[in-house]
């Protein structure tokens, strides 16, 4: 655990040293919200939820894109001798999850300021966001570890990850419409169970496959 923490803090320090990275994500969130808002002019509850996840999806793709691109090849070779691949994976996932949670809160804040508060069950939206951040972070970390080995890293991450994100996204949208009160559905536990099982499926597959994919 301490070793994973080391990796995470190294990652964070590199990130913070390059101020533009975090600020870039924030800017991305802000400008996409502006574009969407200037098209819609106003966001009723249902559109609020949809807009939120569309922006979240693309911001998270952009944020995770440089997961494995930041360090040089040599650094990874060095890591490979020091750490077990799963430790590296756990560190990257943790760090990405924090990034996604950061995106989640800043996007929530931005849309809150721009389009007002439509939340009926705010706590449920918070839970949804946390599950989403963890689940998507695991999925995106694995996919970007595949995509980094190809020639077109950026487009490949999107091509591989977007269709795989849809099963998660569908449940996120349902939970969101529950927290926005736009669905007559009074029992969100079905969706939570399904979402949790998909996320655990993704987690199990990632833990199994990452050491294999990483070895090269």
């Amino acid at each position: 655990m301490g070793r994973i923490w080391n990796l995470v803090s190294t990652e964070a320090r590199i990130e913070l040293r390059e101020r533009f990275a975090l600020a870039g994500i924030l800017l991305y969130v802000l400008s996409s919200s502006f574009i969407v808002f200037s098209i819609w002019r106003q966001l009723p509850a249902r559109e609020w939820g949809l807009t939120f996840w569309v922006i979240f999806l693309f911001s998270s793709l952009m944020a995770v894109l440089k997961t494995f691109g930041r360090e040089s090849e040599g650094r990874y070779f060095y890591y490979y001798t020091l750490y077990h691949p799963l430790e590296l994976f756990a560190a990257k996932v943790l760090y990405n999850a924090v990034l996604l949670i950061f995106i989640f809160f800043s996007l929530w804040f931005v849309l809150f300021v721009m389009a007002g508060n439509h939340m009926v069950r705010g706590w449920w939206f918070l839970v949804t966001g946390l599950i989403a951040s963890v689940g998507l972070s695991i999925l995106l970390t694995l996919i970007s570890s595949i995509a980094i080995k190809t020639q077109q890293n950026a487009s490949m991450t999107a091509i591989l990850a977007l269709p795989l994100m849809i099963p998660i996204l569908i449940n996120l949208l349902r939970l969101t419409s529950y927290s926005l009160g736009t669905t007559p559905d009074q029992n969100p536990w079905n969706e939570v169970t399904l979402l949790a099982s998909i996320v655990s499926l993704v987690t199990a597959m990632s833990l199994w496959l990452f050491p294999y994919l990483w070895r090269s």
Partner: protein
């Protein structure tokens, strides 16, 4: 899979390939040419008021009303044994007849409107049913004495049509034959993707490049079958749901499944190194196959859907797949799966030949 370096005699087609050919020829002949049972296409008017005379113009399908016109009987069924028998049935021609009923002014159950099911019985055509043929609006004045009319008659001595014929279903009609083509496409796709994932697992364990080639061939052919499944499904949807694409969850999820596997092919084409390509696509392939299960089998079942088997609709079996259809449907599944495996084998061999050139 045979080693391609050993020359194989072109005349030696394995037994299972002959089986595939024979089964599919049978499926095409039986699937296209076996006629449908007689049925009712429509009845008009489709709404009336209780306590009034109703003369129903009935349009038959594949029917022979002119044969024994005196023995045709008609009923309007509310539920179970609660029926009204036609007072008089007048045959116009083989496809048209007029049945006159008296709808009682009082009903044994209380509703805003009463859907009645039309049932016809004919000595040679057998019985045919049109669900919810007429909607009856309650009468302004109810006469309790007419309650007895509902239990006076019974549906009895129903004739059964013998012979090898597919059932006539409203809305589906002739498109019921698509069962032998649309459904097996998905069975085949899933099985081919499964075999592909299995060979990816083999590559993961043993690292032989040959397993990667086999796995890729199965994905390619599985994709083709998936697209055929989508296209046949869209044609069916146009005829039954009245739109090629209605954003039904089953349609969406299967399109996404195809996107995932197309992404795998894009991934393969973007890597130069063969070993790298094999390892990454093996990993992604297994990952994709596992995620396919919630996508195709769990999410559609939890959502409202028009598709059979989802959102509370009955799946295959029940009324839609009777014993006659089973005799074609099960061979069809086996035949298409065998054909898929056969094509995959050929694709794999061609790939090997191309690479060795």
């Amino acid at each position: 899979m045979q080693n391609p370096s050993q020359p194989t005699k072109p005349s030696s087609i394995a037994l299972w390939k002959w089986a595939a050919i024979i089964i599919l020829v049978y499926v095409f002949i039986a699937g296209w040419f076996v006629p449908l049972k007689p049925g009712i296409i429509e009845a008009s008017p489709d709404r009336t008021i209780a306590g009034d005379q109703l003369i129903l113009a009935v349009k038959g399908y594949n029917s022979h009303f002119m044969k024994d016109p005196d023995q045709i009987r008609a009923w309007m069924r509310l539920k179970g044994d609660t029926v009204i028998k036609a007072l008089h049935v007048e045959v116009v021609d083989d496809r048209h007849l007029r049945a006159s009923f008296y709808i009682p002014s009082v009903f044994p159950i209380k509703q805003d409107a009463y859907p009645l099911t039309l049932i016809l019985d004919h000595p040679t055509d057998g019985s045919s049913v049109l669900p919810n043929a007429v909607f009856v609006t309650p009468a302004a004045v109810e006469d309790p004495a007419e309650m007895g009319l509902w239990t006076r008659d019974k549906i009895d001595h129903i004739h059964k049509l013998e012979g090898f014929r597919y059932p006539f279903r409203n809305i589906l009609a002739e498109t019921i034959r698509n069962t032998y083509f649309h459904v097996p496409m998905w069975f085949t796709m899933i099985i081919l993707f499964g075999i592909s994932a299995w060979y990816s697992l083999k590559y993961y364990r043993q690292g032989l490049i040959i397993d990667d080639n086999i796995s890729t061939a199965f994905v390619k052919v599985g994709l083709v079958f998936g697209m055929l499944g989508l296209v046949t499904g869209m044609l069916w949807a146009k005829n039954t749901w009245n739109a090629y694409w209605s954003w039904d969850v089953k349609q969406n999820m299967s399109a996404i499944a195809l996107l995932i596997y197309s992404a795998l092919m894009v991934l393969r084409s973007s890597i130069e190194d063969d070993m790298q390509k094999a390892r990454l696509s093996a990993g992604y392939n297994m990952f994709a196959f596992v995620l396919l299960i919630p996508l195709l089998f769990i999410i559609p079942r939890m959502t409202d859907s028009l598709h059979p088997g989802n959102g509370g609709n009955p799946a295959m079996g029940g009324e839609d797949l009777d014993n006659t259809m089973r005799m074609v449907f099960y061979p069809a599944v086996i035949g298409w799966v065998l054909l898929g495996i056969w094509i995959s084998q050929l694709v794999y061999r061609v790939d090997i030949l191309k690479r060795n050139q």
